[in-house]
Assembly symmetry: C4
Homo-oligomer: 252 residues x 4
């Protein structure tokens, strides 16, 4: 079999398209953001990707039918902005280092076909801590983009993320710049990493919305984001109570 099977559903003409990636990862921040984009913009499916680098698995749809795990590209004709979008979503990332490279490379080949020159990858930055307001960290392929993104409130830190960026969010940018002459930025929402974190996705997506001047209703994601805020506050309160008790106990 071909290691990666690409099925073109449609080959649209796109206006200076930007690739936006959001695959499963830390806190599923990127996945939630990209799927929200896909579901709340008027997007159409253009490409399906199956591969032996993905898990050997089918998933259930809930009605008794199943589907093979996959990655997908959806496009959006952005009337109000300069850039149409190609959104990469999927059930899984590649299972091995080599699979990660092969899948990212293939996506970039397809993106190139449609004229992509810029990439946004979305992800989470796991801190192991519950944050009050998660910051959005950035990393870019060049200084111009670093400066540009700072205007949107994105943090660029000397030391973070300290281990670099692993997986598709990093590779698409790395291979994009080295092999496909593309530039790009990775947006990483702070997240504890303990659960799926739509609040962090909300922060990431707000940057995307503003940057691309997207006409997208953010209310549902905002709602889910506020739920996370409440839960976080509650947990923090509990923790503080616990700490006080312990303090008293220690004194007593």
């Amino acid at each position: 079999m071909e290691p990666i099977i690409v099925k073109y559903v449609e080959k649209p003409e796109l206006k200076d398209p930007v690739l936006i990636e959001g695959l499963p990862g830390v806190g599923n921040v990127g996945k939630i953001a990209a799927e929200y984009l896909k579901d709340n913009l008027n997007t159409k499916l253009m490409v399906e990707i199956f591969s032996k680098y993905l898990p050997p698995q089918v998933l259930m749809k809930g009605d008794g039918t199943l589907y093979l795990v996959r990655n997908q590209l959806w496009y959006y004709k952005n009337e109000k902005g300069e850039h149409d979008l190609i959104i990469l979503v999927g059930d899984y990332q590649g299972m091995s280092s080599e699979g990660q490279y092969e899948l990212s490379y293939k996506v970039l080949e397809i993106a190139k076909e449609f004229g992509v020159k810029k990439i946004f990858t979305l992800g989470g930055y796991g801190t192991g801590k519950l944050q009050d307001t998660p910051r959005i960290f950035g990393a870019a392929t060049n200084m111009n983009l670093v400066e540009e993104m700072k205007k949107y409130g994105v943090y660029f830190s000397e030391s973070e993320p300290s281990g670099g960026i692993v997986g598709a969010a990093g590779l698409l940018l790395g291979l994009g710049m080295e092999v496909f002459d593309m530039e790009g930025v990775c947006l990483m929402g702070e997240t504890s990493g303990y659960f799926s974190d739509p609040r962090s996705s909300y922060g990431v997506l707000k940057v995307v919305k503003e940057y691309f001047n997207l006409d997208i209703d953010m209310s549902e994601l905002k709602f889910r984001s506020e739920e996370i805020s409440e839960i976080t506050s509650q947990i923090k309160e509990e923790e503080q109570k616990e700490e006080k008790k312990e303090d008293l106990g220690y004194i007593g």
Copy 2:
């Protein structure tokens, strides 16, 4: 070496054949069912498959001779039904994700050659519990098959199997529908998952027998199934006694 070595023993003409898979897996439910079919119908060996994706191992026949681990296709001319059968059995599934994909893909290529348009995959659904009467869960490639299988008492659940279906039982259907234009259904017998479970296989095979109108003597599998029922009852009784003792102990 070729990654997968296919040896054709015979190339029979088959009447609208259906592929039935039963390889090792949870409770060996599929394997036991498919091998019972193979052994109790008038089947003939048609294809042998060796591969570097299988373990590097030979097994003993019991008479001092050995054989290389393999998968096999056997065919059955079903005079009473519309469909001849091709039965996939084997010592192992692929050892890696990639091996799983490659082996399933190759089996589908061979099946296509012989005109297969429909696939039944048989497996176990591990619950971690001893069941009184194991249900047969299903998952299909389309709603028509879902509805059709319900008539045979197959359960289709919104949420089960929750992790999807991993391995050949899933992949043959997933790749079959996406690449080979085949439809199919996976039948999964409930099983504890702690031991080989012919009772669960019996339940699965009864559906297959009825669906394909097979003239097959089920008595031996029924016997092995009843043994499991007895053992299960005994264990459950013991457990209840234990629980009562514990209850008394707690009260006392």
Copy 3:
């Protein structure tokens, strides 16, 4: 790079040659036996095999120089017997399932070139126990060989080795019979599996010596074998003393 690099040192004309394999494995029984053959017969190096399926490692010769890990084929012109020998030795077996298949396949291709029709693979059968006199178990590709080897005192058991034979000792026979039309036998000396076991190798090699009518001085291996016997006796005595003490303690 080529996955397997084969360097021919010499291409001798060989008389109905038999391939004898002894690579590292349980108790290094096969390795010790095959290397003893190589070192104590008048053998010459014919083929060297390097491969990315072997560990990425060089080993030290003891004089400050190093060498790349490899497998080797040595040949022996057996004036007194019907069969010349090709002896397969090496630092390692393949590191992965796929590597095991690829390496065994390549060795068989080379063996075929030189006219090999029969294979002897040598190995250990790990029992986890200290044996007084290790038996030699066998497994063969056909019943003729089973019967023939019984005359040399080789045991063929219905149930042992229960897990089959893993690695080159099994694969060379399995691929040999299925793909290269070769027959063969695996000789497995019982061994605890806790240490390198020249005594078990001695038992295996005695069968090989008799079968091929080899003019080989076994004295050094016999010496090393007797050392193992002594150590085994000592350990057993100690164990019995311990047990007696415990018994007394229990009674007392």
Copy 4:
């Protein structure tokens, strides 16, 4: 994608060049030494290597920009010595056995293009102990080099390194001698293995400097080396105090 992507930045004419390798490994001894060479000689980047055998990762530069993990070749025109240098540095070694082989093979192919006939690989030899003055161990592809290197104070031991040399430092020599007709030596600085050890690198690099008559300022590495010496002394003192206390305690 090509498994290994090679980008030539420059194709210089080089005078009988020697390849010097220092990739990450035990104590990062080789990496620190090779990067010090690269940074403190007048070197120029000639080749960049990207590969699916490296981790799927980008790293941060500290200014908000990122780069794809890679290996690099830098060259140095050595006016005072007979040999120009090609220095191999990188973020990682290959992730799998096969990747190790493939990457080393590719580097040797490139080295051959530029006329390399000799290789120096630099690494650490992990002892698990804090040494006062780390020795430099050697291993070479032939006795001439062994004798030659002894003049530079390099130790060649019958038994060390006992497990051979794993990874690029070993493979470049092993594949170099077997496939590319190159000779070479591995220099291994003793190191505890518990931390990055510039002191061990200093020892290794002093040999390289003398051998190639390099005009290189060693002062910064010397400084970092002395820091390690101080830390080592302090830790040893602490340990001795601890031991004395324990001794007294035992007597008391």
